[in-house]
Symmetry: C2
Subunit: 269 residues, 2 copies
Amino acid sequence: MTGAYVHGYDARESERLRDQAGSLVELLHADTSYPAGSAVLEAGCGVGAQTVTLARNSPGARFTSVDISGASLRQAQAKVEAAGLANVAFREADVFDLPYGPASFDHVFVCFVLEHLARPAEALARLKTVLRTGGSMTVIEGDHGSAYFHPDSAAAREAIRCQVELQRRAGGNAMIGRQVYPLLVGAGFEAVRVSPRMVYADASRPQLVEGFTRRTFTAMVEGVRASAIAAGLTEPAHFDAGIRDLYRTAEADGVFCYTFFKGVGEKPR
Amino acid sequence: MTGAYVHGYDARESERLRDQAGSLVELLHADTSYPAGSAVLEAGCGVGAQTVTLARNSPGARFTSVDISGASLRQAQAKVEAAGLANVAFREADVFDLPYGPASFDHVFVCFVLEHLARPAEALARLKTVLRTGGSMTVIEGDHGSAYFHPDSAAAREAIRCQVELQRRAGGNAMIGRQVYPLLVGAGFEAVRVSPRMVYADASRPQLVEGFTRRTFTAMVEGVRASAIAAGLTEPAHFDAGIRDLYRTAEADGVFCYTFFKGVGEKPR
């Protein structure tokens, strides 16, 4: 079959990025940098989890990071100032009602935002209007349906489903990662390229086991315990068994897999 | 070897394995090459789907490819001869009763074999005895639990589960990929490193959509239709809806994800 090399290269490149990544931040963001002088909108910066990395990787670019939460913005601003970065401006704004005119930005970056929106396609369309033609749109999303592990556990899968269901009831979609490609294409972006970023954690990668399996993914699922029980989605003992089984995958013979999807498209000229 | 080979031995299956190797050859095998003069055992070569690639990538190595099926071996041999390769010897043999003494090989290679065995850990232990100390063991396996797609479909997931269940009843494990690390460590190999090889297919990668989503994965699941119905695992209309939904993921806005796991370990000195 022709073309196999190109696809294989993408997968190996993804693997290389993962192996080189000292952290999830590198895995997701190491290949994002913007030219000096360019204006970049970070839409939905939250508490600035990505903002410092973005601004540091593109010291000559000017970032505008917006979020609907003023409290989150203040945390983001504190992080950026603590890092000694001066190339980020913050503004309280709704992705669906941006205070910017057409073509105000050279590039737009959206990370872990679409998963929380009831109308992700419309959000991309709105963001496209403030992007200049030829500018890039970058989207990064996780997908909880990509989580699998050893030892497998029905209770662990059900605990994850509690998180998915709560997010769905809040209007979001915790399994949106696999849809990054159709969302970008559907919003009219061109030259769309999606690359999965798989986190694979076994005992030979202790930092990922600790940093991702335990402290990121399992801690996140554990965090919905009260809400899931209150919503009648699970029983305390059953949920707790699922969490124990998720921590079990972080033991010496355990394996945990999860995939993020990063898509980049261009606004047609 | 225990258990029937769930994929069967018919012509279409042979074609599927060839297509699979053709589309994934770089992804799975590009980083496997053996030094000139080394003796390599390919255990469970089947119809030779990987043998030509292995032998071509390591022209100075001497391969011994064994399989329990004489008919499969003859097909493998024909492929190798058609490729003009002279560095492969074939022999009919059972992985659990190998006709080789201790430390007969410098390296051992096993691909898509453990998934069919009721005692994969014991198979690795047997293979370890014919490997010299310091030699490498390479294992490649898929994991049907790693398959997810857009649009999501309960019927499609259930069709895949039919395949998983049939393989389980035949003594195998179609979700063994995630266990490659603990299996290798458990068998006493050292410096074990597992790297996932994710196949991500969207419309921007048409060869992969055709070669993997349609002609490899969906064709494989489709191939268990009669067995799954005969075993009472599904109803014809429901199974067919699942297959339609799997083909649906190969349309312009569809996405299909699957992951293979490649592990390499060393026999302790």
